[in-house]
Subunit: 377 residues, 2 copies
DNA sequence: CGCCTTAATGAATCCTAAA
DNA sequence: GTTTAGGATTCATTAAGGC
């Protein structure tokens, strides 16, 4: 059980080892401003949305808002919340790697303002995810629908960042081989998982279930990634990150939360590397050129290739192209041309004859890849 | 079958009989400005989503996705979209009765801006409702979660309006005697319900299902109420209003939509009063994904799975896949692979050890389903 | 007519490494 | 920064066509 370090005052330009897997005490904007730019892979944020933010609310003109003053009107309070949101989101964006992504969770009270600010700051929305609660609090007055969900926004740092982490294949495999949808079903955090205070009451009003964070991290991070939570609270982000072999950084203002989160995370046992291994994505598999099948002797020049229904046939040539009559080109281009399509995956389109039946040439590529295993790229 | 009147130029200060159950041609702000203030009970609005699509998108079979690229969905910037939204929402608010409510539907492209504008204008948000689609379009490139829902915002005119219509008891009775949640499950609009153009293609790119509108009206209107739709389109709001014994007003710019909506509504037969009560929600059998067993703590990463005769063993990984050596995949794919089969039901094939005997993992699925009782899948 | 196979399609911000 | 080319990617439902 390794203790969790706490940082009361982060030094300017700190080394990574100083802040990794720590909880930083303080205001989230001030702490974020001390962290190096482009240093975290994913941010998970559960910002407050009640307007009593302990005097931290400032109007856009920097005048301070008294959060319990009934006199300021609705517009003032929304503007103050927007300014607060803009401030921490801007600071968070500086810290995020160019291909990093951010998750923000909220309810209808604040999520629309959060989403608007995100778009205005240049974040590029990837999905909005609905957390459907199996056991939500009932509506007691019977004047509205039971508020049975919360909303998460998942966004990349920029419109142009395309290489963000998304473990599509693993998510699909874990979901009975159909792609993961934007609506997730989880129970709210109760029972032994819920941290209690000395009175036996709940320590934190909005502790999120670990299962929710686990799916977030399994979807959008790799083992060893750094996950930052600027509103650390009870430390769910840290606990799940540690269990899943990810690094965390938490920022939190309240001492009681920091203490509880530290103890909680210290008690977490990380999973074995073997259990954390990532399912190999096809698009990440080593590139195999069709010509290399000839080099390896798995395919001979002059072999006839056919599509699965033998509508078309092509001839393999010694230079790694295939030809139909006078037309020659890659397995992909010729496959596309015969079908009159823009594109075609030649590996799955073309087949060769073996023992009387047609087998896709992709099976030969698999043999190539198996042979390459253990050979440095 | 009563014809639907069309109004090309609404007179100033028109009598109610002039505009009730009509379709007004023109820009929605101009038309709204002609209607009397505080004259409609509920507004349902399906504004442009500002989709901001890039190039073409193709399905894996290379067919092209017919995208929403209509002129009315093009905006130069978020600011332009905000201005458009503020204008029509302000005009709509003048027309709404003090105890009236408004529904606005959108996706993550626009709904955050819509919600922000609503709050800024003084609308008081009552719920955000998630329309979960049973049959959404997949994500074809595997780069995001399948976008499987849209969001509706339900709001009253003012924070102070308390006497808005909400048929709590009727909804609860129609929902197996549990209160209606904020997540609703409906199929998208297809089949015979979908209006077609002369070419047999879809008449309108975003026609909403009648079931969705029916629940909206059953929840928030009384028979005889007036429902206004400022983006009338194919006239779903009018068709459902007429069927449910409510009045409608539609505003629409395009002649072809007005004509189709008129014919559609003229063919609607209003329900008998008696039948109005029994609008029932459809429930689906809950589908359980293997990964959700891990989420729920019923299965731990690192657990060994075996077939019933212990010929093969596999290791459960944290991402919800299982692995034998280097090969990882879903319970179904790995089960199929070890047997050399095309397919396999992993739920019945794989077992785990408990108290010395092997139990199928399907028994854990049953526990999940029991826990999920009452929550539509 | 029924049964089985194939095709079509829906509010979509949907690729990426190498040259 | 650009362009080029390899080659990876889909779920539920309706409707039409074949036999």
């Amino acid at each position: 059980m390794s203790a969790v370090r706490r940082i009361d005052e982060l030094a300017p330009e700190p080394k990574k080892a100083e802040w990794l897997d720590t909880i930083i005490k303080g205001d989230c904007v001030a702490a974020l401003d001390r962290l190096p730019e482009k240093s975290v892979d994913v941010i998970f944020a559960d910002p407050p949305y009640n307007l009593q933010l302990g005097g931290d609310l400032h109007r856009p003109d920097q005048s301070r808002v008294d959060a319990v003053d009934d006199e300021w009107d609705q517009f003032d309070s929304f503007a103050a919340y927007d300014a607060f949101t803009r401030a921490w989101m801007l600071a968070a964006r500086r810290v995020l790697k160019p291909n990093g992504t951010i998750w923000v969770i909220g309810s209808y009270h604040n999520i629309f303002r959060v989403g608007t600010v995100m778009q205005d700051l240049g974040y590029w929305l990837l999905n909005d995810i609905v957390w459907r609660k199996t056991n939500p609090m009932p509506n007691f007055r019977g004047r509205r629908f039971q508020n049975a969900h919360e909303t998460m926004i998942w966004a990349s740092r920029d419109k142009s960042s395309k290489s963000y982490t998304f473990n599509y294949e693993a998510l699909k495999a874990s979901n009975d081989d159909v792609q993961m949808r934007s609506d997730w079903l989880f129970p709210i955090c109760t029972g032994k998982e819920r941290l209690k205070n000395e009175d036996g009451g709940k320590l934190h009003p909005t502790q999120k279930p670990e299962a929710l964070l686990a799916r977030v991290m399994m979807a959008s991070t790799k083992p060893g990634d750094v996950v930052l939570d600027p509103f650390f609270g009870s430390g769910t982000t840290g606990a799940v990150a540690k269990r899943l072999g990810r690094h965390f950084v938490g920022i939190e203002r309240q001492d009681d939360y920091i203490e509880a989160a530290s103890a909680r995370i210290a008690g977490v046992e990380p999973l074995e590397d073997m259990d954390l291994a990532q399912m190999q994505a096809k698009r990440a598999a080593p590139r195999v050129a069709f010509g290399s099948l000839l080099d390896a002797g798995l395919m001979q020049p002059g072999t006839q290739l056919h599509d699965s229904k033998r509508r078309w046939s092509a001839n393999v040539r010694a230079d790694g192209t295939i030809a139909i009559g006078n037309e020659a080109g890659s397995i992909h281009r010729i496959g596309a041309r015969v079908q009159g399509l823009e594109a075609c995956n030649g590996w799955t389109f073309w087949h060769f004859e073996e023992e009387g039946s047609l087998k896709p040439i992709d099976s030969l590529r698999q043999i190539m890849r198996d042979n390459m295993q253990g050979v440095a790229a």
